[in-house]
Symmetry: C2
Subunit: 241 residues, 2 copies
Amino acid sequence: MADDASTYDPSKYERPSVTVDVVIFTLYNRELHVLLVKRGHWPYEGYWAIPGGFVNMDEALEQAARRELEEETGVRDVYLEQLFTFGDPGRDPRTRVISVAYIALVRFDAQKLRVSDESTDVRWFPVRELPPALAFDHEKILEFAISRLRSKLEYTTLAFQLLPEYFSILELKHTYEQILGEKLDKGNFYRKIKEADVLEETTFMREGRGRPTRLWRFKPNRSDKQFVFRWREDRVESKSG
Amino acid sequence: MADDASTYDPSKYERPSVTVDVVIFTLYNRELHVLLVKRGHWPYEGYWAIPGGFVNMDEALEQAARRELEEETGVRDVYLEQLFTFGDPGRDPRTRVISVAYIALVRFDAQKLRVSDESTDVRWFPVRELPPALAFDHEKILEFAISRLRSKLEYTTLAFQLLPEYFSILELKHTYEQILGEKLDKGNFYRKIKEADVLEETTFMREGRGRPTRLWRFKPNRSDKQFVFRWREDRVESKSG
DNA sequence: TATAATTAGTGTGTAATAGACACTAAATAG
DNA sequence: CTATTTAGTGTCTATTACACACTAATTATA
């Protein structure tokens, strides 16, 4: 940070507000969803917005993001990553607001996620059916978040953060397909994920006819790491700072 | 950003200071260097720091970064990219400071870059010979910047931003080697860069004995774009948010 | 008990790529 | 003419991606 001019006192400067916005993704009904809140007053009254709030003076940025996340969804200990900082003057008509955006990935669990389906002011939206307009510059933020999510999926185990503890390989493949927006080859997917050696066999799930579904889980010693296994080699995140 | 609680006025909140810090890289004496400034007063008096300063209230973040960059080096119109936002409480003992860090790549040009070799308070440091300790959390920022630089080099034409307009392919290869910290194969490099079709032949440079050096330049229509050609397929940036 | 349905894989061929390394070609100074 | 320097090209091997066909296992139910 900071100066090299010889005199100054930071307290003399006029200061912008700093907020954190958290783009919360989940997998729900086999589709990628994002949590939005409806604004109840000016500015952008009635518009949907990415949840967020002000950073307290004694609070780290990531801590503020976790607090917002928990206030909004009731969940803790989820995957959280800083996305980008948006700070154009005029993006909030009230005052200068600089917003540090985060991405969170949560496992969908109706019990825990206190967001109800009928709630009129907090709702999960499928990323393919977003409201036509969002508050502030939140469309840009959301677009950037989705792009980042896609590109990181290629070389990390991010997808596991969206699945329940036990899942089948076809479910995992479906999750990849949802985020990437394209079909993957079943045989190649099986091979690739097995070779990566990140899965651990658990039990079976029996339902309907057909061979029972084998359930797996992410190897415990790796479950919290950002283990890198690079699913595919091509593609590159398009946006950059 | 923003609340969904029903009443509030952002102006009521206590606000942190917001600064931009710019990690400025250049290639100088065939080595990757970074610009640091020596602090003249408390806190961290006498320590080297990444140049930066406060964001004005009516100024976009990137604009503030460009202003700082120009104040420090006199150059404009260079490659600039947002790196990460550092905001731990206590990182500046004076007050809460949230720092949006940027990376800048500038072409070394003794004429333009007004930083002299003997200057005691503004200096280029080779990234392999940094001062033992930096002010604030600037070691972390710098480490992150170098890591990002390496990883982006792999799939972008970033390296061109460090070279003069006209350069030989061996110089370009040397630049890659400097940043990646490893040797590359000459033949493969030639092939790869030619196939990418981003270079344009210009003149020759004759000096000493030996076949004259062919000089190239980056194709004009692509010089300002972040054209992607992915130099190698392996490797992944380790750090993530 | 036969069969349809479903998950769970394996086999294989092609084309592209990376990476190592040897080799040729061109131009110059002395 | 020769040493030196840049500028490439040739080629072999191992790996990878990708497409797509194929087999195997297990179950409900007709």
